[in-house]
Amino acid sequence: MELFVFVCAAAMVLAGALGVVLRSNPVHAALSLVLTLFGIAVMFVSQQAEFLAAVQVVVYAGAIVVLFLFVIMLLGVDRAENLKTEPLGIQRPLAIVLSLGFVALLVATILQGRDSLNMRGDGLSTAANGDHDANIRQIARSIFSDYVVAFEVTSVLLIVAVVGTVVLARKRKSDKDITGVSA
């Protein structure tokens, strides 16, 4: 059963990821991204990280992808772009070879070090033993005790991001084309 869930979720994740990279229409790419994010959420659930699975769906699929779609529609780039032309001939093969090499390196490291992954933490409380909100309580205890300063800094980051975006995206009267030619 666990194997079945893993295989299905992995298929979702990989199909979505390939869709993001290969689809020529940005809207299709954004929808493929949703598939990947749901696959990741399924994997979080199967690893007893229920809180993160919920946050993943709400924040990523609910907020970030919708923001992407808004920007795609706002800019009017919801048409297929031509992927056949490539200004730098060497770039594509080079990028693929580089990435394959990097993945091979990562996989080799994972296989090399898998025996050193022993339990050494304080233990996870999971919902398996009848305590249904054990995971969320444990994360809350961690965030609001050990990482409370980081949590506060996060709120500052969010405020700065919101204000910065408003300033960036505002239409100014003295807007000039960056090429110097007025649009």
């Binding site: 990821a17 993001v20 923001l67 594509r92 990435s99 993945v103």
Partner: protein, 105 residues
């Protein structure tokens, strides 16, 4: 036979590595800044998957806390990045990062 095989954390780590590689190809190959952003999201998700897999394997909640912070920072990053893209692309019809090679004011 198949039912007895349970996926170990190594499987999740390898899937995370492959997902990171796909995202890397996306960032390096695609010219549309929106698609590049989505590829960065793929890479962030690969890292999140790795964090959770190791958190489960090592029975340590700190990995899941780190994922929480990664989610928040990713949200902020997307908001600012898309703001910049909107600010730039409003004035030009072509959507390609190659058009932005000259960073003149």
């Amino acid at each position: 036979m198949l039912a007895t095989i349970a996926p170990t954390s190594t499987w999740y780590l390898i899937l995370g590595a492959v997902l990171f590689g796909i995202g890397m190809v996306g960032v390096l190959v695609r010219r549309n800044p929106l698609i590049m952003f989505m590829s960065i999201e793929l890479m962030l998700n690969a890292v999140n998957l790795t964090f959770v897999a190791l958190s489960t394997q090592l029975t340590d909640i700190n990995g899941q806390t780190a994922v929480f912070f990664v989610l928040v920072v990713a949200a902020a990053e997307v908001v600012v990045g898309l703001g910049i893209i909107v600010a730039i692309m409003r004035r030009r019809s072509e959507v390609s990062v190659d058009d932005l090679s000259a960073l003149k004011g």
